[in-house]
C-alpha cells in the first residue's frame, strides 16, 4: 500500500465542505470518503506481484566505464500496470536513474533501462526490483519488492595500459637491435642475412658465407656475399607474478589500495611480457591461493587476469610467506623471473618475506615491487611548526625503515622497485625491459 500526493491534496480539499458546513461531521465524512476512495483505487491498481521480470545486460564492465542493463517487465495481470519502478543495485554499482515511470498495458512487456557507473571493483549485485502500481484515480497504489537475481563483474581499471604503447615500442627497438647484438647470455640465434655496412664484423658467419658462394671459386671471381648471424633476445622465458593480498595490501595510498596498484603493475607487465613472447603465470596469495592464472597467452591472458582479479579484496590476515617457494615451484620448474608485489615497510612486517627470499633467489631472478607513499615525502619536507617537525621526523624514520628493508632484500639477492602508486606499473615494466636488454632473464 502507498498513497500519492494527489491523495494528500484530496484530503486537503476537505477544507471546502468543512468551512461551508462548519461542522465536525463534515470533517469525519470527508475523511471517510477519502479513505474509501483510497481503498477502491488501491484495489483497482494492477498487482505488482503478477509482473514477471527478467534481466539482460553485459556480464562485465571495466571500472570507470559504464554499462547499460535492461529489465524486462511483463504485466501478467488484467489491468494496466502504471506507476514507478526502482531497479535497486548495490550503491557502488552507481545505477542511474534510481526510479523510473512505467506504463505497461495488460499482458504486454516493456524494457526498463538503467546505466551502471560502478566506482568499485568486484562483483556488484542487483538487490531487488520494487514496483509501485498506482490505481486509475492516482490516489493510492500497491507496492511489492521482487528479488530478481543479477549482477555484473567490475573489472580492474588497468589505467596503466596507457604506458603499454611506449613500452611495446621499446620492446620492438630491443628486437630490432638484435642484428647488432653480439651473441651472449640471454640471446638466441635468430637468422642469417646478408652483411650490410655497419654490421659488427665479428658476427660474420664464414661457414654460411662459404656455403652461399657455392664452394671455393676460382681466383678473381666476384667477391662472395658475406653472411652475418643475427641474434635476438631469448624468448619463451617464464615470468611468475605473486601478488600479496594480505593485510598490508589493504592499506590505501593516494586513494588506491596497494592491491590495486599491484594489479595494475601485474596487468602491464603481463601484457608486455606476453608480447615479448614470454610465458606469464600469476598467483594472488595470502594464506591460500586467492586467484591463479596459468598457461594463458595472448588476448586470453589479459581477459583471464582481469576476470580473476576482479572479485579479490585483501584479507585482513598475515601473508604466509613460507608457502610461497612451493607455490612458485608448482608454477614453474625452470629458472624464471619471479615478481613479488608486496609492500616493504618495516623490518617487523617483512620478516617472513626476508626469511623466505633465499629459497627463491637461489634458483630464480626475484624482483620485489613495492609501493611507496608520496605523503611520506611531503610530510618529511614540511617543517613549519613544532607538530610538523615531529611528523617530519616520523616520516624520515618510516622512509629509513623502508630503505633498510629494501637493502636487506637486495642483500638476499633480489632486486627492488619502489615507486608511488601511479609510477609503479611503468617502473616494473621498465625493469623487465632492462632485464630483457641485458639478457638476464
Amino acid at each position: 500500500m502507498a498513497v500519492t500526493g494527489w491523495f494528500v491534496a484530496l484530503v486537503a480539499l476537505g477544507v471546502v465542505p468543512v468551512v461551508l458546513l462548519a461542522n465536525g461531521w463534515a470533517y469525519v465524512g470527508w475523511v471517510a470518503l477519502c479513505l474509501v476512495l483510497m481503498a477502491v483505487d488501491a484495489a483497482l491498481a494492477a498487482s505488482p506481484r503478477a509482473a514477471s521480470l527478467a534481466r539482460s545486460g553485459p556480464e562485465r564492465v571495466r571500472l570507470t566505464e559504464q554499462a547499460e542493463v535492461t529489465l524486462l517487465v511483463t504485466n501478467g495481470s488484467r489491468r494496466r500496470l502504471r506507476g514507478v519502478i526502482r531497479d535497486a543495485w548495490e550503491p557502488s554499482a552507481g545505477a542511474t536513474p534510481r526510479r523510473q515511470r512505467i506504463d505497461v498495458p495488460a499482458g504486454e512487456r516493456r524494457a526498463v533501462r538503467s546505466v551502471l557507473r560502478p566506482w568499485r571493483r568486484g562483483e556488484r549485485k542487483a538487490a531487488m526490483v520494487t514496483i509501485r502500481a498506482i490505481g486509475p484515480m492516482r490516489l493510492a497504489g500497491r507496492q511489492a519488492s521482487i528479488r530478481v537475481p543479477g549482477g555484473i563483474r567490475v573489472l580492474p581499471e588497468f589505467a596503466a595500459r596507457r604506458h603499454l604503447p611506449s613500452r611495446l615500442a621499446r620492446l620492438r627497438e630491443l628486437d630490432g637491435r638484435t642484428s647488432l647484438m653480439v651473441r651472449g647470455q640471454g640471446t638466441e640465434f635468430d637468422s642469417l642475412r646478408e652483411y650490410v655496412r655497419g654490421d659488427d664484423v665479428r658476427s660474420i658467419d664464414w661457414r654460411a658465407t662459404a656455403r652461399r658462394a657455392g664452394g671455393p671459386g676460382p681466383a678473381g671471381s666476384p667477391a662472395p656475399t658475406l653472411m652475418v648471424r643475427t641474434w635476438r633476445p631469448e624468448r619463451d622465458r617464464h615470468v611468475v607474478v605473486i601478488v600479496d593480498s594480505g593485510r598490508t595490501a589493504a592499506a590505501r595510498i593516494a586513494d588506491e589500495t596497494r592491491i590495486d596498484t599491484a594489479f595494475e603493475s601485474t596487468l602491464l607487465l603481463s601484457a608486455l611480457a606476453d608480447r615479448a613472447g614470454d610465458r606469464v603465470d600469476v598467483a594472488v596469495f595470502d594464506r591460500r591461493v586467492r586467484g591463479r592464472v596459468q598457461g594463458a597467452r595472448g588476448a586470453d591472458l589479459l581477459a583471464k587476469l582481469v576476470d580473476t582479479m576482479a572479485p579479490i579484496d585483501p584479507e585482513l590476515l598475515e601473508t604466509d610467506w613460507t608457502a610461497v617457494p612451493s607455490l612458485v615451484r608448482s608454477m614453474t620448474s625452470q629458472r624464471a623471473l619471479v615478481v613479488i608485489a608486496t609492500p616493504l615497510e618495516s623490518p617487523g612486517s617483512t620478516r617472513g618475506l626476508l626469511a623466505m627470499l633465499p629459497q627463491l633467489t637461489r634458483k630464480h631472478l626475484v624482483l620485489v615491487a613495492a609501493v611507496t607513499d608520496p605523503a611520506l615525502l611531503s610530510a618529511a619536507a614540511d617543517r613549519s611548526d613544532r607538530a610538523s617537525v615531529y611528523r617530519a621526523a616520523a616520516a624520515e624514520r618510516a622512509m629509513l625503515d623502508a630503505q633498510r628493508v629494501a637493502a636487506a632484500v637486495q642483500r638476499l639477492g633480489a632486486d627492488v622497485v619502489t615507486a608511488a602508486p601511479l609510477e609503479l606499473p611503468p617502473a616494473v615494466a621498465d625493469r623487465y625491459l632492462a632485464y630483457k636488454a641485458a639478457g638476464r632473464l
Partner: protein, 438 residues
Amino acid sequence: MTATAPAGPTTSTTTGVVTGAPLGTAAEVVTPTVRRTLRRALFWIVLVALLLAFAAVYGLTTRSTAEADRFAADEAAPAGSRALVEVLRDSGIDVVTADTLDAALAAVDDPATTTLVAADPRAVLSADQWSALDGAAASLVLVEPPALAVGALAPSIAPGVPSLGGVRDEAGCSLPAAQRAGSITTDGVGLDAAGAAATGDAVEVCFPGEEGEGGAALVSLDQPAGGDLHLLGAGGVVQNGLIGREGNAALALGLAGEHPRLIWYVASTADVTHGATGLSELYPGWVNPIAWLALTVGLAAAVWRGRRLGPVVIENLPVVVRTTETMEGRARLYAREGSRLRALDALRVGTLRRLAEGLALGSAAGLDDIVTAVSGIAGRDRAGLRALLVDREPRDDGELVALSDELLELERLVQRRVALADEGVDGRPDDRSEPTTR
C-alpha cells in the same frame, strides 16, 4: 503478449549475455502480502484493542475524581456533596438541585419554608446575581462565599482568607446547629466579622478561631430583605470527604435541614451573563474541524513521503586503512614524550642520506666523508657542520625546530651549489655565486 514489446527476444546484441533469471522465471517476492502482515501483527493488534477496551471500561466505571464538581449534589467524589444531599433526602426533606440561578429561584415555592444552599466554586456569578438571592428563602446558606457574594449580601463582613485544615471545638455562638456540632474542621475560607461588630449589626460569629487563624468558619446574620443568612466559610463541612469528621455532619444537617424544602444550587457556566461563555464562542464553528483536518493532511503527507520505494540496499565496503597512520602515531608519540633527540636524529639521518646521494658519495660513505664534502661545497667550517649534523642536542622544542630548519637550509644550499657546479661543467659562466632566494 499483444504487440509492442520493444526488446524482442532477450538475448541482446553485441555485449549481451543474459545474466540472472531468464525471462518468465518466477522471482521471489520479498514484500509480505497485506494478509501476512496483518497475521504477523495480530498479537499486537489484539493487545492494543484489549488495552483500549480495558481503559474504556475502567474509565466508565470509575468516574474520574480529578475534575470533580465541588459541592455538586450528585458528585460522589470527596469534593462533592452527594452524601449530605442523600441523607437529607432520606430524612424526608424535599431536595431540589439547580445549576442555574433562574432554576434555583423558580424552584422556590414558599420562601418561608425553604432553605437555599448556594455555592459558586467557579466564581461565575456577578454581584447582581448574588443580590437576586436576597430574600429568596427563609434560610440562605452560602458555601465558601466569594468576595462578590459577601459584598452583595453582607457588606459588613470582610471576605476571608483561605484556611487550610485545623479543627475548632469552640462554637462561640448561640446558633443551635453550631452548638450541636461542637467541633468542626475548617477547610475552606475564613471570614472576618470585626467590621460587623463595629456597625452593631446582629451577627453571630461561630467557630471564630484564634488570632491569625484566618477568621471565622461560620457567620450568621440577617438577610437585607429578611431571613437568615449563613455564610459557611468552612466549605469542607458539606463535602463528602470531610462530612464524617468531628461535628461536621451535625452542622451541615442543621444548616441545610432547617426547613422542609431544600434547594441545592451550585452555579455553573450557564449562569454567565457577562461576556462570552468560552473561547468556543469567539471563533466560527469550522475552526476545530479545520484543525483536525490539518492534522489529518499532515498524517497523510507523512504516509505519502514516508513510504519508501523498496528497502535500503546494504553493501559491505572494504575497510579503509591509511598508510600514514603509523607515521602519525609515531609523530604524536615523539611529541608527547618529548623525544627531541630521537626526532632530530631521524631528521639528521634523512639529511645525511640525501646529502650523500646529492654529492654522489655512494652508500658506503661515512659521516666524516660527508662532512668533508659538504664543508667543501657549502663553504662552512667542519666543526659547525659536525655540530649541526651530529653533536648538538636540542634543549627544547624551539631549538629542535631551529635545528630542523638549519638542516633543511643546508640541504637546499648543497642542492643549489651542486646544480650550479653542474652548470659550470656544462660551460655556463658561474656568475651567481650568491644563491638567490627562491
